[in-house]
Structure formats: structure tokens, C-alpha cells
């Protein structure tokens, strides 16, 4: 009797271990095949032709312009989505107003809508015959097939990241620390920069990293609004697309790999800094 219970318990444990091991294996397989393998593939393809291929890409004026344009779009997107994202997160976390849930749902819309649709919407608004086209034309501002529309669609697509990272932190933080700060003589501005911001900084940095990664990789919406004029409105991702079109595969791989590496390094850096800070605090 005793022996039987023991074997049964053991076998139960063995089954549990098997299931656990199986799930772990599935996770590694899933991530490995879908995330790591393609990255390794691109890395191999980009590195195989040797350094000369890299040199030729980095000296190509079109490639350099594409990098620069991507950097400019990403930079502007990060600044706008970080500032407005924190504002929206503050409003969503702190204020109670009718329609709050609707606003919260709308913030997630860019994740649900295809970037192509976003691009088309901007063309409809700012393109020939669009609602806003006459005003901008009258003021001599070229929106469509130019930088403004490209930044606009990228910002739209990146809106959710900072908001979704920061809002839960603000809810968890509550208002007591901020109230304490006010009673200790800090103005609302001082309170924001000395109490609120430090408490949401990791969420904000994560949001910025995700925004950066997404902005670097954006192609669908930008493809539609930019017109893809090489050396003018061609971003790094559009350059990759054109490189493959023109059978310049190596150039495509090199640019693709650099974009991927920048995103990976960014996320890794934040992870490292964060764990270092946590260790410092014991």
C-alpha cells in the first residue's frame, strides 16, 4: 500500500516534469525558429561578402541619406510620442471623465489598424483634393511625398508604446508621493521632474525603446505617403526594399542587419541598466 502510493506519487512528479520540460522546449523552439533563426540568417547573408560590401553600402550616398532620413524621422517621433505619451498617460491614469475608456481604446487603435490604411488616410487628408491640402498648399508646405507626412504616419503608429508602458506605472504610483512633494514645498513642475518622472523612468525608457524600434522598422505607411524618391524620401527600410528589387541583395542585408542590431542593442542596454540599478539597491 505504502509502496504503491510512493510509485504513484513519483510517476506524477515525472509527468509534471515531462510537461514542464516539454513547455520549456516548445518555448525555445518557437522563439528560436521565429526570432533567432531569421536574424542569424540575415547576419550570415550580410557578413558573407566581407567588409568591402559594407564599405560600399556606407559610401553609397543613397544609403547614407536613407539612414539619415530614418534617424530624423525616428528622432522626431520619439520626442513627440514621449512627451505626448506621458501627458496622455497622466490624463488616463489620473483624471476621471466621461469617455475615458473610449480614449483609452483609441490609443490602442494604431496597433489594430494596418499601417497601409494609416498611409492611405494621410494621403486622403493631405493629398490632392484632401481636406487639409488647400491650407497647406496656400502656406507652401509640402506634406505628402515629403518629410512631414512620413513623420506623421510614424508618430501615429508609435502612439501606444509610451502610453501603454507609463500609464500602469502611474496608476500603481498613486498620488500620495506627489502630494507629499507638494506639502514639502515643491511646485507642480518640481514635483513632476523630481517625483513623478523618476518613478516612471524605466517604463518611459522602455516605451521609447519600443517606439524607436518600431519607427526604425516602419515601412507600410511610409511607403504610401513618401513616394519613395531615392535620395529624398527614401528611408532605410525603403532602401532595403529597393535594394532587393534591383537585385542588390547584399546591400539590402547589410542595411537590414544594422537596423535590427540597433533595436536589439537598445532593448539590451535598457535591460542591463535596469538590472544594474536594481542590484545597486539590493
Amino acid at each position: 500500500m505504502i509502496a504503491r502510493t510512493r510509485t504513484r506519487r513519483l510517476s506524477e512528479r515525472a509527468v509534471r516534469r515531462l510537461v514542464h520540460g516539454g513547455l520549456t522546449g516548445a518555448t525555445f523552439f518557437y522563439i528560436g525558429v521565429l526570432v533567432v533563426a531569421p536574424l542569424v540568417g540575415i547576419a550570415v547573408a550580410a557578413l558573407k561578402p566581407g567588409w568591402s560590401a559594407w564599405r560600399s553600402v556606407f559610401t553609397d550616398p543613397f544609403a547614407r541619406h536613407a539612414y539619415l532620413l530614418t534617424a530624423v524621422i525616428t528622432g522626431q517621433t520619439v520626442v513627440v510620442t514621449a512627451v505626448l505619451g506621458v501627458v496622455v498617460a497622466l490624463v488616463l491614469a489620473r483624471d476621471r471623465f466621461p469617455g475615458r475608456r473610449l480614449v483609452s481604446a483609441v490609443v490602442d487603435l494604431p496597433l489594430a489598424v494596418s499601417p497601409v490604411v494609416v498611409g492611405l488616410a494621410v494621403v486622403l487628408l493631405f493629398g490632392r483634393g484632401g481636406w487639409f491640402e488647400p491650407w497647406f498648399a496656400a502656406h507652401g508646405i509640402q506634406v505628402i511625398f515629403a518629410l512631414p507626412s512620413m513623420v506623421l504616419v510614424t508618430i501615429f503608429i508609435c502612439i501606444p508604446f509610451v502610453v501603454r508602458e507609463v500609464a500602469p506605472l502611474l496608476e500603481e504610483l498613486g498620488t500620495e508621493e506627489e502630494e507629499a512633494s507638494r506639502t514639502l514645498g515643491a511646485s507642480p513642475m518640481q514635483t513632476f521632474f523630481r517625483v513623478t518622472l523618476p518613478n516612471i523612468r524605466w517604463g518611459l525608457l522602455y516605451g521609447i525603446a519600443l517606439t524607436t524600434a518600431r519607427a526604425l522598422g516602419e515601412i507600410g505607411a511610409v511607403l504610401i505617403v513618401s513616394g519613395t524618391i531615392a535620395g529624398k524620401t527614401e528611408t532605410a527600410t525603403l532602401y532595403v526594399l529597393r535594394a532587393f528589387d534591383e537585385s542588390q541583395d547584399t546591400a539590402g542585408y547589410v542595411v537590414a542587419l544594422t537596423l535590427a542590431l540597433i533595436s536589439i542593442l537598445l532593448l539590451a542596454a535598457i535591460e542591463i541598466f535596469k538590472s544594474k540599478e536594481e542590484r545597486r539597491r539590493g
Binding site: 502630494e179 507629499a180 512633494s181 507638494r182 506639502t183 514639502l184 523630481r194 523618476p198 518613478n199
Partner: protein
């Protein structure tokens, strides 16, 4: 104008709920004044309005002879201690305490010496470089107190400062705060729902209920001369016996208690009697009446006796163990009452008679069963 805190007709509603309704009182300089009341009585809202964290709908607030009502919180120079400490979790204890000095641009040297001084005062010098989440609740609240005191506030506002601590630490910290106040003499306003805390710490007590002031007085007056049934019931757990007034006494069944001189004969009355104002005896005495012991709970040095009166009402008596005469459940005895506070039953609102929940109740019952 007094140099402490003066509150004049303060009123505040949240939506349809009138949280604070025409509240006026003064907190004397250099003293501890307690705002005592059950949760939802508006006492914390009053405190938050004094600090500027809440805008009053009506009324005015003066501190040190200076009107505060229109000022934003940062210009009021008041120390505020929160129930849940509200320490800045991303910085060290030292930086927490220095916060109020650094936002006011005090020099680094001044900050350092003031912070050292305060950490010494609250006995946490050793923990200066720790983070709040590395401290116990009692230590955190002492840091919060040091932080509030650092910029030398004109008054100290304490919002249920011991509410989040366990009973033992609460006792300890209460005694410590009392000592600290004796040393510093800073005008303090303490919000609490714990009558014992208010009576022990405060020089004056403002009892609040449903947004209004019920009674203002020194602890002795609040305890011994409650002016409303609510105060009689809330401050010190009370028995409530219902009866009819006759010749200055409240009569229930064959028994009576004095203290109804202010009521007309024949009026329905309620007598509030503290459990320790009940004595038990085996033989009848003047004005004592027969009771039956229904339940006996041993609390160590005293016992709690549940006594059934002849007319069916129940009386709880707290009697030192050497005066219980070995009475046990089912035995008959005679109870004598002292110091009853009698109110016209027409005035009595039902919620006032609700007994205070007692934190020791559950444990002591278990203890009695074990005995």
C-alpha cells in the same frame, strides 16, 4: 487672531456627498489637537484642506495668523504625515528627508547638517543610505516625520499616522511621538479614528461625525462629559440602556440609574454606561439591581461579564479579576452603575449606539476558552 490653526466654517462636498459641513475650530499653538471620528466623518478632508491638497467649497483657514485658503500647498510651509508614509521610493532615506530643503534651494551644507540632525532625532542615522522599501513600517513613518519636520514647518498635520502599523508598533510610536512633541513643541493636528490615541496624545480633541463637529474639549471633558449620545458611544465603549425618566433617574424594570436630572419625568431616555463603571456584588445594595451572568471572558487582569437584566437588556461589565467574586456563567448577582450619561431617547440616532469594534475582542475570547 490665534497663532495656531484657525478653521472657520469649512465646507466641502464631493459630488452630492457633503464630506465636511460648516466645521470651525482652533488648534492651539504648541499643542497637539486631535480630530477624532469614525471613517467617513470628514476629518481627513479637513486636514487635506488645511494642507491645500483639497480646495474647500466655503470657509477659511488661518495658520499663525496668516490666511492660507488661497495659497497652493507648496507655499503653506506645513508638514504633512500620511497614513501610508508616502516616502519617495526611488531615493534614499537621506534624500527623502532632504527633499523639502532641496526644493527650497537650501545650501548643500545646510541640508546635510539638518538631515543629520533629524535622522538623529528619529533614531535612524544608521539607515540614512537605505531605501524606503528596506525599512519596517515604524521606521518608514519615522522617516516620514523627519522629512515633514526638516523644512521647519509652522504646523504638523498627521493623517492617521499609526493607522497602517500593527498594535505593538503603534503603541511604541505613539509614546515616542508624545516625547518628540514635548521636545519640539510644534503645533500639531492629529487625525485619528482611535479614541485611545486621541485621549493619550492630544491636549484638545475635536470629535467629528458625518462632516460636522460633535464636541470640542480637553480629553477629560470629552470622556467624562460627552454632550451628545454619539460622543458618549464613540469615546470609550459604552453600554446603552433604554428606560423611562422618573425623578432624575432612568428606570428600566426594577432598577434605576442616576444622572437624568435634566430630563422631564416620563421621557424616554438612553443611559450610556462604560463597562468599567459597572460593579458587581453578591448582595443587593442601594440602587443595584439583579442580573444573571450570561458569559464571562477573561482578559488577563480583568474579566468581561455579559449581564442580563430582568427586562432583557444586556450590560457588559469590565471588572478586575480580584473583584469578580468568582462569579461564573449562570449565577445571579447584583450590578451597580456609576457615571451614566443620560440622553433624551428622542434625540438619539440609531448609529450613535453602535458599540466600537474592539481590536482585542477576538483574541481575548479565544484566550478565555483556552482558560
Amino acid at each position: 487672531m490665534s497663532s495656531g490653526i484657525v478653521i472657520e466654517s469649512l465646507t466641502k462636498s464631493f459630488g452630492l456627498f457633503r464630506a465636511v459641513d460648516d466645521v470651525s475650530f482652533e488648534a492651539e499653538e504648541g499643542r497637539i489637537t486631535a480630530l477624532l471620528g469614525p471613517s467617513g466623518s470628514g476629518k481627513s478632508t479637513v486636514l487635506r484642506m488645511i494642507a491645500g491638497l483639497e480646495d474647500p467649497d466655503e470657509g477659511r483657514i488661518w495658520v499663525d495668523g496668516e490666511e492660507q485658503t488661497p495659497k497652493p500647498p507648496q507655499d503653506r510651509r506645513l508638514g504633512f504625515v500620511f497614513q501610508h508614509y508616502a516616502l519617495f521610493r526611488h531615493v534614499t532615506v537621506r534624500q527623502n528627508v532632504a527633499f523639502g530643503l532641496s526644493v527650497r534651494k537650501a545650501s548643500k551644507a545646510e541640508q546635510r547638517s539638518r538631515v543629520d540632525e533629524l535622522l538623529e532625532l528619529v533614531g535612524l542615522s544608521y539607515f540614512a543610505e537605505r531605501y524606503p522599501d528596506q525599512l519596517s513600517g515604524g521606521q518608514r513613518q519615522r522617516v516620514a516625520l523627519a522629512r515633514a519636520l526638516a523644512p521647519r514647518p509652522k504646523v504638523l498635520l498627521l493623517d492617521e499616522p499609526f493607522g497602517a502599523l500593527d498594535a505593538r508598533v503603534r503603541q511604541e510610536l505613539r509614546r515616542w511621538l508624545d516625547g518628540l512633541h514635548r521636545e519640539l513643541g510644534v503645533t500639531s493636528l492629529l487625525v485619528t479614528h482611535d479614541q485611545e490615541e486621541a485621549l493619550e496624545l492630544a491636549n484638545e480633541v475635536v470629535v467629528m461625525r458625518m462632516g460636522r463637529v460633535e464636541q470640542i474639549g480637553v480629553p477629560e471633558a470629552i470622556y467624562n462629559r460627552p454632550v451628545t449620545p454619539f460622543v458618549a458611544g464613540f469615546v470609550g465603549a459604552s453600554n446603552v440602556l433604554r428606560g423611562v425618566v422618573w425623578e432624575g433617574h432612568v428606570h428600566f424594570g426594577h432598577s434605576a440609574v442616576a444622572g437624568a436630572e435634566h430630563l422631564a419625568d416620563g421621557a424616554a431616555a438612553e443611559a450610556y454606561i462604560r463597562p468599567h463603571d459597572v460593579t458587581v456584588d453578591r448582595a443587593p445594595r442601594d440602587l443595584s439591581f439583579p442580573v444573571m451572568v450570561e458569559r464571562r471572558t477573561n482578559l488577563g487582569w480583568m474579566s468581561k461579564l455579559h449581564l442580563r437584566l430582568e427586562d432583557g437588556q444586556v450590560l457588559v461589565a469590565e471588572v478586575p479579576n480580584d473583584e469578580t467574586l468568582g462569579l461564573s456563567v449562570g449565577e445571579r448577582a447584583f450590578a451597580g452603575l456609576h457615571g451614566a450619561k443620560v440622553f433624551d431617547a428622542g434625540r438619539v440616532e440609531p448609529s450613535a449606539a453602535e458599540p466600537e469594534p474592539e481590536p482585542f475582542g477576538a483574541e481575548s475570547d479565544a484566550m478565555a476558552e483556552a482558560v
